[in-house]
Symmetry: C2
Subunit: 304 residues, 2 copies
């Protein structure tokens, strides 16, 4: 079996398993299923949960698309016009309770082909990151430690390298470098070599997905029943506005999807259910909300 | 007085006059005033109204900025690196009542300088467009007729040309060419020539601003007290999500502002107070909401 087929099996299994876990945790809502075809080649399955007891909106999507790489993307990758295939799993969960963080994960595999349809380049990419609205330091430590354990099984360097990538990526540059959340890991253009075979890199993605579940689900379980009120919901909506800004202005995955004529509903599934923009909003000095921004600055989560 | 100075006086006067009119119409909230400086050169005055009786959020901003044109913008204009100045007035109003449309207007004047700081190019740009949530055909006719009268005072061709520009510009291309609203007029790179002096083009901008007020204020007055409920607010939030998508993904003015290190709060003042994204949302068949999208397709408003 080719690594591409193996990757497709992996994301199909994970989609099923993750949705089951999340449905049990939610206890009320179920995931719907939308299968779709892409006109230029490929297909996907979007699974979406909405108005749950725990999850206000969430999606776990898989897709396998192929065709001719758009010129703009070819330029970005530094290649001439090529045929490509891309498969991946992408997940965003926006919980009801503002004390539960939003989470995002995405793992993908990419191939470029030469004129004889031979693979001329291939790489893996992926990452998981956490976006809290309120500060619980132990949550950040737990989430990052789970990801570090996953990385450490493959290379002692990877966690620190991919953690730094993540800190540099999920940034609202237009807001004076404001961070989207507390990060996690992010890697891209990870190509097989003598040390890391393509099978090993597939195992790395699988391990990261497992670590994402181990890192996130206990946080949800612990925070989902904490009391909150209008003030917390208001702040959650303000912060979700920043999430929208990042996804529509800066996120390469979103722009790639929109430029390759991807399925809009699946791509924009990542947007929060509600968002708010207040001119010149600033949280009260000394409040829990005001403490969030400094807390989001990149830090060492492993030392605690 | 240079045309640039005259344009600056014009936008200062209009800002004052428009805010006064809107405050009277609102009857409850007042516009706040924020003066700001741009580090690389220039300044602005943002006037914002929020949580009014009629206007949930609105801004009337003026700015005069100058400096070195960012490379990306220079490429777009087809010039080498140049010093530039840009001044303009920009306005967005998001009413409380979903039966009152959102409106946007922007009028600006641009100069590029040669190495001796002589003006080597100059142009005017601007436009006004209306974004209803519910259909009142007479509102669309009234709005467009006001703009047509303004254009007709200068040239018999302009309304149809600038109306078409507007229909082509305010489009969410990533949503199968979904229209943002019912348009209005939009012009750009309008350069003085033998027939239209720079003073005449300034007068055109002034006439358009007046037409915008004449076209919009009666609509607000007529719809603001109509009854509505949760269903209408929900739909308003869904449609405002599309407004956010257009502004962050497609709007050249927003991207120009963010890329020239403009004042973020003033640029993103255009975003609605609240927005909502529901996966796969589709209005009930036969409902007033379902009728909106076909209604937004470009049409002849003058024949009615």
């Amino acid at each position: 079996m080719s690594v591409k087929s193996a990757f497709v099996s992996f994301i199909q299994e994970e989609q099923h398993r993750i949705c089951s876990s999340l449905e049990i945790l939610d206890g009320a809502a179920r995931f719907g299923t939308d299968e779709w075809q892409r006109e230029e080649g490929g297909s996907g399955i979007s699974r979406v949960i909405a108005h749950g007891k725990v999850f206000e909106k969430g999606g776990v999507n898989i897709s396998t698309v192929h065709g001719l790489l758009p010129r703009e993307m070819a330029n970005q990758f530094g290649v001439t016009e090529s045929r490509f295939s891309a498969c991946g799993i992408s997940l965003v969960l926006h919980p009801v309770n503002p004390l539960v963080p939003t989470v995002h994960a995405n793992y993908r595999y990419f191939e470029l082909y030469d004129q004889q349809d031979k693979v001329k380049d291939q790489w893996f990419g992926g990452g998981s990151d956490l976006t809290p609205y309120y500060i619980f330091p132990e949550d950040g430590i737990h989430f990052h430690r789970a990801l570090k354990s996953a990385c450490d099984r493959f290379s002692p360097d990877w966690y620190s390298r991919y953690k730094m990538n993540c800190d540099q990526y999920f940034v609202n540059h237009h807001r004076k470098e404001e961070m989207r959340g507390i990060g996690g890991i992010f890697y891209d253009y990870l190509r097989p070599d003598d040390q890391f075979s393509e099978r090993l890199l597939l195992e790395f993605a699988r391990t990261c997905v497992q670590a994402f579940l181990d890192g996130y689900l206990p946080i949800v379980a612990r925070r989902k029943d904490l009391p909150y009120g209008d003030r917390q919901v208001y702040w959650q909506e303000i912060r979700r506005g920043r999430y929208v800004e990042f996804n529509l202005i800066h996120d390469r995955g979103t722009l790639f999807g929109l430029k390759t004529n991807g399925r809009v509903e699946s791509i924009l599934m990542s947007l929060p259910p509600r968002a708010r923009w207040e001119y010149g909003f600033s949280p009260d000095r000394g409040s829990a909300e005001a403490a969030l921004l400094p807390y989001l600055q990149p830090r060492d989560w492993i030392q605690g």
